[in-house]
Symmetry: C2
Subunit: 114 residues, 2 copies
């Protein structure tokens, strides 16, 4: 459980940056080399590589070097874990609203009986 919490820390931290989110968005459409990823961003290659390392630590991206080219892929498990965390809490919150609504409806019904 502590391990999952730590992984969620790293995944959420990795997603807290617009360049890193754009890299994830790009890799959702297919694998890309570091050079290809660099094209739309006005940042140097060392900065881009730092972002990729943060995404790797967050479990969102994996990369492999083949000769002079580093190929990056999405590893969707971390994205699915954050989605599960968020959705389960939204469900708790919605459940509470549903119960509150049912409670108010019962009170209204009781009041009209009197």
């Amino acid at each position: 459980m502590a391990n999952l919490e730590h992984r969620l820390d790293l995944t959420f931290a990795a997603l807290a940056d617009p360049t890193r989110r754009a890299i994830v968005a790009r890799l959702c459409s297919g694998d890309a080399t570091v050079g290809e990823l660099a094209v739309p961003f006005e940042i140097g290659l060392p900065t881009l590589l730092k972002h990729i390392r943060v995404l790797e630590r967050g479990g969102l991206v994996s990369s492999e070097k083949s000769g002079r080219v580093r190929m990056c892929s999405l590893t969707p498990g971390a994205l699915l874990n954050t989605d599960e965390w968020i959705r389960s809490h939204i469900a708790t919150w919605e459940g509470r609203l549903d119960r509150l609504e049912a409670h108010l409806a019962r009170r209204k019904k009781d009041a009209t009986k009197k």
Copy 2:
């Protein structure tokens, strides 16, 4: 768009901490005072208040002081925004896998015809 990106930065950063995620989880079940939120955590009130400020900046929590008591509530919009971002990208990734699967099935079919 830049504004939404900035809000996503702050929301994801706010969620990148286990204590802050536990506060969000608690508030999904109902409003709570700062004193009530402090009970399960072995941290001082000033540290807890700092976490609440980060959650407020991330749009996840709102708080209001009434006399000597500060009441905290979940503001679900930010949670829904992060959920939307994650789900739309998972959908892109799944769509790519579906297309890849369809392409491989077509190739297999063509190969068996020959």
